[in-house]
C-alpha cells in the first residue's frame, strides 16, 4: 500500500521536473543578465579583485558566505557533539 502512494507521488514529482526541464530557456542564452553584467563591469573598480566570482562570493553576496561557513561550523560541532564519547 505504501509503495503505491510513494509510486504515485514519485510520478507526479517526476512530471514536475520534466515540464520544468522542457520549459527552461535554452542552455547558453540567458534572456536576462543585467545583474551579472553589472558584476562583470564593476567588480574590478568596486572591490578591486580580478576574479569576479570571488568578489561576488566575498563582497557583493558576502553574507551568504558567512552563513555558509556557519553551516560548515554547525555540521562540525554537530559531528563532534555526536562522537564526544570516543576516547581521544
Amino acid at each position: 500500500m505504501k509503495k503505491i502512494i510513494f509510486g504515485i507521488a514519485f510520478i507526479i514529482f517526476f512530471s514536475f521536473l520534466i515540464v520544468s526541464a522542457i520549459n527552461m530557456r535554452t542552455f547558453g542564452e540567458p534572456n536576462y543578465s543585467e545583474m551579472d553584467d553589472y558584476f562583470i563591469e564593476n567588480a574590478q573598480s568596486e572591490t578591486g579583485a580580478n576574479n569576479v566570482v570571488t568578489s561576488v562570493v566575498f563582497d557583493y553576496r558576502g553574507f551568504d558566505t558567512l552563513g555558509e561557513a556557519t553551516v560548515l561550523f554547525t555540521a562540525v560541532v554537530g559531528v563532534v557533539a555526536l562522537f564526544r564519547g570516543v576516547k581521544k
Partner: protein
C-alpha cells in the same frame, strides 16, 4: 585504519608538503586566480586525509591533534566575522580596504591585467579566514570519522 604499503608512505612523505603549499597558494591568490578560501581549504584537507590513509590513525594522531584543529576552526571563523564587523561603520560587510592604498588596497588596472597581489581590500583577508576555517573543519571531520569507525565497530562485536 591500518597503514598502507611502504611505497605509499614514502610518496606521502614527499608529496605531503607540496599539497599543503599548493593549498595555501590557492587560498592566498583567491582574488586573482580561480579558487579562494573554500577550494584552498579543501586541498589542504586532502593532504590531511592522505596522511591519515597512508599512515593509519594511530600515527596520524600524533601529528594532527583534533583539539588544535577545532581551536583554529573557531579562530578562523571569529576572524571572518570580526573582519565583517569592522565594516560596521558603514554597513556590515562593507569592503573598507578596497582602493584606499592601505593594506591590500592598491587600485587594480581595469580590464585585463597580470594581477597584483596587493589589491582586493577585504577579500584576501576573508579568503585566509575562510581557508583556515575550512581546512580545520574538514580535518576534524576526517579525523573523527576515522576514530568513529573503531568506536561503532567495537560496540557491535562486543
Amino acid at each position: 585504519m591500518k597503514e598502507m604499503s611502504k611505497i605509499v608512505r614514502t610518496v606521502t612523505n614527499f608529496v605531503y608538503g607540496f599539497i599543503i603549499i599548493f593549498g595555501f597558494y590557492i587560498i592566498a591568490h583567491g582574488h586573482l586566480t580561480p579558487g579562494g578560501g573554500f577550494q584552498g581549504g579543501a586541498v589542504v584537507a586532502s593532504a590531511f586525509a592522505l596522511l591519515l590513509i597512508s599512515y593509519g590513525r594511530l600515527i596520524t594522531k600524533k601529528f594532527l591533534k583534533k583539539d588544535i584543529m577545532s581551536i583554529t576552526e573557531s579562530c578562523g571563523l571569529t576572524m571572518f566575522i570580526v573582519v565583517a564587523f569592522l565594516g560596521l561603520g558603514i554597513t556590515f560587510f562593507y569592503n573598507f580596504l578596497a582602493n584606499t592604498g592601505s593594506w591590500f588596497g592598491n587600485t587594480t588596472v581595469i580590464g585585463i591585467n597580470p594581477g597584483d597581489m596587493n589589491t582586493g581590500g577585504v577579500i584576501p583577508l576573508m579568503n585566509i579566514a575562510v581557508g583556515l576555517e575550512v581546512l580545520s573543519a574538514l580535518g576534524v571531520i576526517v579525523l573523527i570519522m576515522a576514530g568513529a569507525a573503531e568506536f561503532t565497530k567495537k560496540k557491535e562485536n562486543s
